[in-house]
């Protein structure tokens, strides 16, 4: 098969259309998908940021103070705010997708997707409350 040969009655000439490099701009759903995929980079950045934090804590009070000072610089602050927004987007789109991927059975009862979704949000809220308690209450 191919488009290079000459057409004849018994040898059709297929038209092969190439997907544009900018296919992801054609639909809002594709843009949302690309943003979701791109949000992984911000997840990676937060992992790096956390490792830098741990490294500064291990380095002693002076090292930790320098880390806090560096974290307060405008570009790091901006990067972290943008990263936070992307991570929230990543989490929400992940949760929305979860019921499609997870089919949960309790006995013979198939748990509805909306409850699987709710379970994710409850777990997220519980984890947030626990971390808040660790930071503020303990």
């Amino acid at each position: 098969m191919g488009g290079s040969h000459v057409y004849s009655d018994y040898h059709p000439r297929w038209l092969r259309r190439k997907l544009s490099t900018y296919w992801w701009l054609e639909k809002r759903a594709y843009v949302a998908f690309i943003l979701r995929e791109g949000s992984c980079m911000f997840v990676a950045w937060f992992v790096v940021y956390l490792l830098l934090l741990v490294n500064s804590v291990v380095g002693g009070p002076g090292s930790y103070a320098r880390f806090l000072e560096w974290s307060a610089t405008p570009w790091v602050l901006t990067l972290n705010i943008v990263s936070f927004l992307f991570i929230v987007y990543h989490a929400i789109t992940f949760f929305v997708a979860a019921p499609q991927a997870m089919v949960v059975h309790i006995g013979h009862w198939r748990v509805p997707g909306v409850l699987v979704l709710a379970g994710h949000y409850v777990a997220w809220a519980a984890a947030s409350v626990f971390v808040s308690w660790l930071l503020l209450g303990a």
């Binding site: 059709p12 000439r13 038209l15 092969r16 259309r17 997907l19 296919w23 499609q100």
Partner: protein, 246 residues
């Protein structure tokens, strides 16, 4: 709403064209006319050379999938009045080679489909005297959704992964594999695993999710693929930790 609507129809005549061009026609637009009725009107009354596939006209055969105003649609289930005042642009399904006008080459899909063995595989049939292979309603519910697939290939047309990498086995083939994997009468899951877990199988999918959005039968191929990823990962872990079997 007017009594007519403009239909812009893609034409590709391989004996003379090297690209798609568009013919524009006014067609009647009563409220019960679908896009396919508009195409049939053109074929019967205006230009008999227009080529397209159709058969049942009731959303069962899966033949009349085309791109309508940029979206993959069954033209027998897409009402012209919903696009009033128009125009309505009809193109061949994306991601497939075009043979002529609105007809695409489905050979690639047919070859992929047969690879996942979309039928019940039995190691040995039980004697007829032992009766039918009975199922409970719960067992039927496990796969019924996937059995609704009509092979219309709208999901392939909506999938940018398939568009970028035609080797990807694709949404419908995986959903139909799951239809049989989840059937308690079937014993062919390991055969299908060999095909689905290869590089061009389920792992090619990055969960764009448009296959599910465009599916006219609510099959949810994206869900089938993600479910199978979980199954494949569990099986892979099992074979790693329990190489001699559980």
């Amino acid at each position: 709403m007017g009594s007519h609507i403009r239909l812009q129809v893609a034409r590709y005549r391989p004996e003379q064209d090297s690209e798609i061009t568009f013919d524009e026609h006014e067609v009647p637009c009563p409220k019960d006319w679908v896009v396919l009725d508009g195409l049939n009107h053109i074929k019967d009354r205006i230009d008999a050379t227009l080529s397209y596939r159709w058969s049942c006209r009731m959303g069962i055969c899966g033949s009349c999938g085309m791109t309508v105003n940029g979206e993959p649609k069954l033209t027998c289930a897409t009402f012209l009045a919903d696009y009033a005042p128009g125009p309505v642009r009809v193109e061949p399904l994306r991601n497939f080679p075009v043979i002529r006008d609105l007809i695409v080459d489905i050979g690639d899909f047919m070859q992929k489909l047969v690879r996942v063995k979309p039928w019940i595989v039995r190691q040995a049939e039980k004697p007829v005297a032992e009766g039918e292979y009975l199922q409970t309603p719960e067992e039927l519910d496990e796969y019924k959704q996937y059995s609704m697939c009509i092979n219309c290939m709208l999901c392939y047309a909506a999938c940018p992964i398939y568009g970028l990498d035609p080797k990807f086995i694709g949404p419908a083939a995986i959903a139909l594999a799951q239809r049989y994997n989840l059937d308690r009468r079937d014993e062919g899951a390991s055969d299908r695993m060999a095909v689905l877990s290869e590089h061009d199988g389920i792992w090619g999918c990055t969960f764009v999710g448009q296959c599910t959005k465009v599916c006219p039968k609510h099959v949810d191929p994206a869900g089938a693929i993600q479910r199978y990823k979980l199954t494949a990962a569990v099986e892979s872990m099992k074979s790693f930790f329990m190489p001699r079997g559980a």
